[in-house]
């Protein structure tokens, strides 16, 4: 399934957040969306998955999802959005229960995804008992349980410490190699975008416009932080965004 955004424009109370943004997320690929804070990346993601209505423009899918897909467009949130009074099992079950699966089918799905994110022994644990990295893995397991066609990830690593982030980045790459999911990966972190993105959509400062679409052909498995090819791409994108980032930073201070 492909996901397409066509000239999305959106404003909050007269302030234009996104202007004429078009994207095409191809099946089996990860599209990283990169931009400075306040450029409307998260708004764009909410629009892509139907959590928010754009002022103009539209979002479309082409092709059909696999038969196992219960929720084609599925989010992974920055703050994990785990329900604190439900166990890890309960959180995943919440996403599955209204699909009319048999109990055995449901439990098989839950066990399968918990195995994939290495949380099988923690099915009964409450979110507060888990570390930050485990919480995000639980949230990723919940997203995988509905066999999404496209994952919409909103800075999934931003709330984690640097070490956990590096580990989870490896997990995400491994998961992609296993199942080749499609994803939109919103981030303000250049290194994450370069590590995971098959394409990187670079947004400008507010109002967010698509500045450049960078393709990286190197396979995910081969990408290292110090590969010269990646360093060159990082450099290129950094030059694109550094002035804007600086300006955005000053703007935040003035407004704040």
């Amino acid at each position: 399934m492909d996901l397409m955004a066509q000239s999305i424009t959106h404003a909050y109370g007269g302030m234009v957040i996104l202007q004429d943004v078009s994207l095409h997320v191809e099946s089996g690929q990860i599209m990283a969306v990169l931009g400075p804070s306040g450029c409307g990346k998260s708004t764009l993601l909410r629009i892509l998955g139907g959590l928010e209505k754009p002022d103009s423009g539209g979002v479309f899918t082409t092709g059909v999802a696999e038969a196992a897909t219960l929720n084609p467009l599925t989010y992974v949130f920055q703050d994990f959005a785990l329900v604190p009074w439900l166990s890890v099992y309960g959180n995943i079950e919440l996403a599955l229960r209204h699909h009319g699966l048999s109990r055995a089918d449901r439990d098989a799905r839950i066990e399968g995804v918990l195995t994939r994110v290495n949380l099988r022994e923690f099915a009964k644990a409450l979110p507060k008992q888990l570390s930050g990295g485990m919480r995000q893995r639980a949230a990723i397991a919940r997203a995988l349980a509905v066999s999404p066609a496209i994952l919409l990830m909103d800075e999934p690593l931003s709330a984690l410490d640097a070490q956990t982030r590096a580990l989870l980045m490896e997990d995400l790459k491994a998961l992609w190699q296993q199942s080749g999911f499609s994803a939109v990966y919103v981030t303000h972190n250049l290194s994450e975008a370069v590590q995971l993105g098959h394409k990187i959509a670079v947004l400008s400062r507010r109002p967010g416009r698509l500045r450049e679409l960078v393709s990286i052909d190197m396979p995910l498995a081969a990408r290292r932080d110090d590969s010269p090819e990646l360093l060159a791409i990082r450099d290129h994108i950094w030059h694109l965004i550094r002035d804007e980032a600086a300006m955005a930073d000053r703007e935040m201070v003035q407004n704040g």
């Binding site: 929720n71 604190p84 009074w85 919440l94 979110p127 507060k128």
Partner: protein, 284 residues
């Protein structure tokens, strides 16, 4: 021996500067943290109760306070035992408990339902909330005469007064609780296509439960106050009527025995709510 020179003691130099024996004295950094973290001390509650009881015993035993104003603890206890024996306590207690349970259950269920609609729907918020805010400050006991005119002097008017007093704080607690439910969780559920009813029962209600329980804590004490007042205004049986009758006859031992029962009732209810908080909010 005369050419002995004075000896200068040297302390190991710190940061490159030689420090002489005359260096300023070492001072330890004063502790400035701590406090603002009250804990539960295990035996202090019991000891405090016993101390108050002992004080009461002393001032009455030595006649510093007259028997008529404040009977001895033993006399109050004896009055309590006598009321248990002749069955009058059971009659009054059961009458009160019935009114309290009915009134509270009625007021709380209406309050939660209205609070939920205010928390969920714009129309309800704009129409019912100002109404509830206007009702809240009315001393409900002032409405009892009206309820008596409408509903008669019997049970219904007392139950209605209690229900009405419980209603507003429960509405306010409920919609406040609903407002405080993490919107991110609701968006998450919507993003997985979770049906509205499931969002209500599995996200919004459990999320509002802490506020509901603290609302229950407040409204049960309001209910006990209204119960006593209503029974004092016009009731044959009930703890309030019992206390008032004892006061009219200057039987302070029976009066205080009634007060002790009321206090025990309130304490028990708050313990039950505390238990519910520990049982249902363990995820916090």
């Amino acid at each position: 021996m005369a050419d002995l020179k004075p000896v200068t003691l040297r302390v190991a130099p710190i940061l490159g500067e030689p420090v002489l024996a005359a260096a300023p004295a070492r001072q330890s950094v004063p502790f400035r943290g701590g406090g603002f973290a009250p804990r539960r001390l295990r035996f202090v509650p019991l000891v405090t109760f016993l101390l108050v009881l002992a004080l009461w015993w002393v001032v009455t035993h030595y006649g510093w306070v007259s028997d008529l104003s404040l009977p001895k603890p033993g006399e109050v206890f004896a009055a309590l035992v006598a009321m248990v024996k002749d069955g009058s306590l059971a009659v009054n207690f059961m009458a009160s408990i019935r009114r309290l349970a009915l009134g509270w259950a009625l007021g709380a269920s209406f309050g939660v339902v209205i609070g939920l609609t205010i928390g969920l729907f714009s129309l309800a918020r704009s129409s019912a909330l100002p109404l509830v805010s206007a009702l809240f400050p009315i001393p409900k006991i002032a409405l009892l005469p009206l309820f008596v005119l409408w509903l008669g002097i019997g049970e219904v008017s007392k139950v209605a007064t209690i229900a009405f007093g419980v209603f507003s704080p429960m509405v306010i607690a409920t919609f406040g609780g609903v407002d405080n439910v993490d919107r991110g969780l609701i968006r998450m559920a919507q993003s997985f296509g979770v049906p509205r009813w499931t969002i209500l029962t599995r996200i919004i209600l459990p999320g509002a439960l802490p506020a509901l329980l603290s609302g229950a804590r407040i409204s049960t004490s309001i209910a006990i106050i209204l119960l006593t007042a209503a029974e004092m205004i016009g009731a044959q049986h009930g703890l309030g009527a019992m206390v008032l009758a004892a006061g009219n006859l200057m039987q302070t031992d029976q009066l205080l025995a009634g007060v002790v029962v009321l206090s025990g009732l309130g304490f028990t209810l708050s313990q039950i709510i505390g238990w519910a908080e520990r049982r249902f909010l363990h995820w916090r």
